[in-house]
């Protein structure tokens, strides 16, 4: 049976030395029956069977998400403290840098380069306005709140800063009882009214909707509420209980005992070891490492030494043991040039 040769178009290139880890003498020997269509069908059916069995036996996880409502009801003090950092723009999101804010010095660096800063702010967020003041302004029929909003937004920046700092001090020791946030008195002006109303708005569920990018019924972008929730400690605490945090190799994990994403093992490994595990540029450093390693994997065929590892390991001898056990003199045609006669 003739076999159409793989490379049929002669190419004018200079002769080069045969290298076992790069080159190969194409097969001249015997062929065997092999039904590819049957193999693909059988493999498909095997996977269908495995999948159906696992789906029936194990099902899949679906834990309810944390909402602003569930967060503020479960941890009202944490919510109030986080809300205050959004108002005075000291929160994680407010000081994040690109792509959310123009915070000086923010943005991870890889040596002298920061692609994060290069692409800049394309999802602009003003936490004071977007997370606190604008949502509060949507509440109708609250004259005290309306007056507090007008007073706060009409005050000079320095005055607002003083109120903010004063409230930051007292909310650190806040409590919650009888459905109310309880803080000590202090020179924080209208801020107490603002945060108190935001707390009740959150607990009612109204804040979840008001935070959306386009509060006009239809929404598909949940950036603002998710960022607000992530600024608090409640979400992270819930994740920690489920072994999902970064230093718990959480990237690989799933809630409960379900298998997760084991293929992310190498990506998350770098986050566990110095210097990435404590570096303020850890994320971009890990990404750079993974991009380099992925490129190396793709380019293994070109890299001497790396491409020799399979031959050194010798596992191929097991895979092809049937072939190596049935060698005959015709194997001469499979020997690399220099180990066979030239035939013309």
């Amino acid at each position: 049976m003739s076999v159409t040769r793989a490379s049929d178009t002669p190419r004018a290139h200079r002769a080069r030395r045969f290298r076992q880890d790069r080159d190969v003498v194409e097969w001249q020997g015997a062929y065997r029956r092999y039904d590819l269509a049957k193999e693909v069908l059988v493999c498909f059916l095997v996977v269908v069977l495995l999948t159906v069995v696992c789906a029936i036996v194990f099902s899949s996880p679906d834990e309810h998400p944390v909402t602003v409502k569930s967060w503020s009801n479960a941890a009202p003090v944490d919510f109030a403290q986080t809300a205050m950092t959004e108002l005075d723009r000291t929160s994680g999101v407010a000081t994040y840098g690109p792509p959310y804010t123009n915070t000086p010095g923010a943005g991870q660096m890889l040596g002298p380069i920061s692609t994060e800063r290069f692409f800049g702010v394309r999802i602009p967020i003003d936490t004071a306005q977007d997370f606190v003041l604008k949502p509060l302004a949507t509440l109708p029929d609250r004259p005290a709140l309306g007056a507090a909003l007008a007073e706060y937004q009409g005050a000079p920046a320095a005055q607002r800063a003083n109120w903010d700092a004063a409230y930051e001090n007292v909310v650190a020791n806040a409590t919650f009882s009888n459905g109310q946030l309880v803080v000590k008195g202090g020179p924080y002006g209208p801020v107490g009214v603002l945060i108190g109303n935001l707390e009740s708005m959150a607990r009612s569920g109204a804040l979840d909707g008001a935070l959306l990018e386009s509060p006009q019924l239809y929404a598909t972008n949940y950036t603002n509420p998710l960022l607000f929730i992530a600024d608090g400690t409640y979400l992270a605490d819930q994740a920690g209980l489920r072994h999902l945090q970064g230093d718990q190799w959480g990237m690989m994990n799933e809630t409960g005992n379900f298998p997760g994403q084991a293929w992310l093992w190498l990506y998350t490994l770098w986050y566990q070891i110095p210097p990435m595990n404590s570096s303020s540029n850890g994320d971009v450093e890990v990404w750079a490492i993974m991009m380099v390693l992925t490129l190396l994997l793709a380019l293994v065929p070109f890299i001497p030494g790396l491409r020799s590892i399979p031959r050194w390991l010798g596992i191929y001898r097991l895979i092809w043991r049937v072939h190596y056990r049935s060698l005959g003199p015709d194997i001469i045609s499979q020997m690399p040039p220099g180990r066979q006669s030239h035939r013309r």
């Binding site: 015997a30 092999y34 072994h243 596992i315």
Partner: protein
Amino acid sequence: MNLLAALVHLGGTGKYISWGVLQISLSNLIIIAVMIIMLVAAIALPFPKHETRRK
């Protein structure tokens, strides 16, 4: 959500194995072990013989 549909309940608290800085869930460890077993078995198990014909 109706995890009652599952015969084996995989919800609840996950089981994890720690060794120094390494931490892995039992389920992920099982997945990786199964993969290694599959590879070893695939290499070790004999493949059905078919008649071979010379070119």
